[in-house]
């Protein structure tokens, strides 16, 4: 009896997590899948008609926004790596006693809500605000130039909002690197650049991988930055889904788009994991 219980114990440990997963993930997924196959409207009610034809339809309708969202998310990921890596490197290797304070400074924006931070950017980038207004007064910008309602504003907003998600995993990975390894590399006649490229960078790959996922996946589905800082030419797939859900109340189309987005993200992430060699990373 007790031997059987002992064999079941690992599975019993899974129960709380499994229940949580079922309740908060599986059930909503199934409901959403069901909705996507329904037809109808608010006034006549929705009926399950197994309407699989909705998937090609929504993909065709929202293809530009899909491509645009993927493009923006890729740019944001690259930019956050470009900005975040030096920050994480400096804090990990040169931080010394100020490490905690520097980390706190990186996380500080998170003390305010996402929307408020984005609205703050709307003020910062305002046509005649203190950034653009000053540049215009100095004659560096034409008076009719605007940054808001351009892709630049949306990408900047996304970068700012997700930068800490890149810095923190990178910091964790870099922190784990034994400085003696770099010392050993330089002892073996490696230049500082070579030491970085062949020791530090490969060892920080788990952090890069985690950070890119944490930045790419939320950015692709984001709609707040596009709504507050963008224009009709920067609408992302998140905006389309939001509009379909809340304004036109076209629940089947919105749910179908949600699933397509999820599938697209899964495919892209799987590809990325393949390229980066995630098998070794997650075991490392």
């Amino acid at each position: 009896m007790s031997r059987r219980l002992r064999r079941l114990t690992p599975y019993l440990f899974l129960v709380p997590g499994g229940l949580w997963l079922i309740l908060f993930f599986v059930v909503p997924m199934v409901v959403m899948a069901s909705v996507s196959l329904q037809e109808g409207s608010l006034e006549t009610g929705f009926r399950l008609t197994w309407n699989f034809g909705i998937y090609p339809q929504v993909i065709a309708d929202a293809s530009t926004q899909f491509v645009r969202s993927i493009a923006y998310a890729l740019v944001v990921t690259v930019v956050t790596i470009a900005i975040g890596y030096p920050i994480a490197y400096t804090i990990a290797f040169r931080g010394g006693r100020a490490k905690n304070i520097l980390l706190l400074l990186v996380i500080l924006p998170f003390f305010t809500a996402f929307i408020i931070r984005t609205l703050a950017w709307k003020l910062i980038l305002a046509d005649n605000g203190f950034v653009l207004g000053t540049l215009k007064d100095l004659g560096l910008l034409a008076p009719s130039e605007h940054v808001l309602a351009t892709p630049l504003a949306v990408i900047s907003g996304l970068t700012y909002n997700f930068l800490p998600f890149m810095v923190l995993p990178l910091y964790v990975a870099l922190e784990k690197i034994d400085p003696h390894l770099i010392e050993a590399a330089t002892d073996l006649y490696a230049s500082r650049r070579q030491a970085f490229l062949r020791v530090t960078l490969p060892l920080s790959m788990p952090g890069l991988f985690a950070g890119s996922l944490l930045v790419f996946i939320p950015s692709i589905g984001d709609f707040i930055n596009a709504e507050i800082l963008g224009s009709r030419d920067t609408t992302m797939i998140g905006n389309v889904i939001q509009r379909l859900f809340l304004e036109t109340n076209a629940y089947p189309e919105a749910s179908a788009l949600g699933f397509v987005l999820m599938a697209a993200v899964l495919v892209l992430v799987a590809l990325y994991a393949r390229i980066v060699g995630a098998e070794e990373l997650t075991q490392g």
Binding site: Q38, E43, F46, R47, L48, S231, R232, L246, E247
Partner: protein, 443 residues
């Protein structure tokens, strides 16, 4: 290893089966999707207060459709219900309204008219400026409305076409006019029996206004007179339009010489084409809800579609340069209305609040601040009298302001002639118009 492969295959097949069965089960839920599954939802759809006639109480589980689909109540059906006895005041009421729609004390940040109401009746008003866009707001409250749950507001102030839609869906309770004596006595004839709610069964007007164009002459460099000025390439990237489909499409239809109430499919298609060309050329900075106000006041926009009262307030408080104009091609008359959803927590207080606004003590200070077209009779005359009093008391600035409000907030005969009504869209039409509009807005 072989054992595991078999197990994996079984797991895969099993999860597909579960998904399919789950879809089927979830698809059997009687009400609209977001309100959840099965009997729990329809059991919760109980009517409250005087709304014994609304169909939400008669929804049966297993029926495919929203509670409203089992037959929208006609005016005669619900008017035949005997008036329920007035419930007693509970001391609080929650009101969801648009921004820039109430007077504010600049120093304390309080609302003088609401404070006067509290002093008079003892009812605390929780005032929430939560409505930015009709469809957006509707999207938020719809699941609760469909399930018959309280939506978190006792009184809400949707616009005319949204009231029409909510009536069609059966989400509103008919008003007990015996509890609204001031409305009956003081409402202007123009506002009685509107197109979206014949007989004022479900709604009473809050304020009206005109959808027109607001512009900043220092930024446009010239006077703006008509809708096509919004499409002038000279202003590319600095023009605002409304995200509210019915406003933007109707104004565009007028610019094509089409009366919105008689618009056909071809007319709407033409309006769509006109707007799409401009949108693709980058003419519009963005499609706004009420947040166009901040963009216009800050100077991000040179000209934009606007609501008349907002501009009066902007001239007085935020940016004195801005002008409002009813386009030569035609403006739109909109009426925002106070309505009661089916499930209201503080019913007597809600009625007290709604009726309070039809007294001159409340309506006059309100108009003198927000500058919208009041549905209450006698307000304009009172504002003019107040202007005269201020002039006699040697406050010329205040007198000028009040004169301007008396002039601009109440359209004269000529202006009213150039102001048109919206079309009462059927569900099919609304979907078609929305699809066309989404293409313009969504890029």
């Amino acid at each position: 290893m072989l054992e595991l492969t078999g197990l994996r295959r079984l797991a895969a097949l099993g999860s597909v089966a579960v998904l399919a069965i789950g879809c089927g089960i979830a698809g059997q839920s009687p009400s609209t999707v977001p309100s959840g599954t099965g009997p729990a939802a329809s059991a919760a759809a109980t009517p409250t207060g005087g709304a014994t006639g609304t169909p939400s109480g008669s929804a049966t589980p297993g029926a495919s459709g929203t509670p409203g689909a089992s037959g929208t109540p006609t005016a005669s059906e619900t008017a035949a219900e005997p008036p329920t006895p007035a419930p007693s005041l509970s001391g609080e009421v929650v009101w969801g309204n648009w921004p820039l729609y109430i007077d504010i004390d600049e120093e304390t940040g309080g609302y003088p008219t609401l404070e006067a109401f509290t002093a008079q009746t003892g009812v605390q008003v929780t005032y929430r400026e939560d409505i930015n866009d009709n469809a957006e707001f509707f999207g938020r409250i719809q699941p609760d409305l469909a399930a018959g749950n309280p939506i978190g507001y006792d009184v809400i102030t949707p616009s005319d076409w949204m009231v029409a839609r909510m009536i069609r869906l059966g989400y509103l309770q008919p008003l007990d006019k015996s509890l609204l004596p001031n409305f009956e006595a003081n409402v202007q004839e123009l506002f009685r029996d509107p197109w979206y709610d014949p007989g004022n069964v479900y709604s009473i007007p809050w304020q009206a206004g005109i959808v027109g164009i607001a512009y900043n002459p220092t930024l446009t460099g010239r006077e703006i007179t008509t809708f096509d000025d919004l499409l002038d390439p000279a202003f590319a990237g600095r023009v605002g339009m409304f995200s509210e489909m019915i406003d933007t499409m109707s104004l565009t239809l007028l610019s094509l010489g089409v009366e919105p109430e008689q618009a056909t499919t071809e007319d709407v298609q033409a309006a769509h084409d006109k707007l799409l060309t401009a949108a693709q050329a980058g003419q519009f900075r963005a499609f706004y809800g009420n947040d166009y106000y901040d963009a216009l006041a800050a100077g991000d926009l040179a000209l934009t579609m606007a609501w008349s009262g907002d501009v009066s307030q902007m001239q007085l408080y935020d940016n004195p340069n801005v002008q409002f104009v009813v386009p030569e091609s035609g403006g739109l008359l909109f009426v925002d209305n106070m309505v009661l959803p089916n499930n209201v927590e503080h019913l007597a207080d809600a009625y007290a609040l709604m009726d309070y606004w039809y007294t001159l003590d409340a309506a006059v200070p309100l108009t003198e601040y927000i500058g919208y077209f009041s549905p209450v009779a006698g307000v304009r005359e009172q504002v003019e009298a107040d202007a005269l009093a201020e002039r006699k008391a040697d406050h010329p600035i205040r007198a000028d302001r009040l004169d301007q409000i008396a002039r601009d907030s109440f359209p004269d005969e000529a202006q009213l002639a150039n102001v048109h009504n919206y079309k009462n869209l059927t569900e099919e039409e609304e979907r078609m118009w929305n699809e066309l509009f989404n293409e313009i807005v969504g890029g």
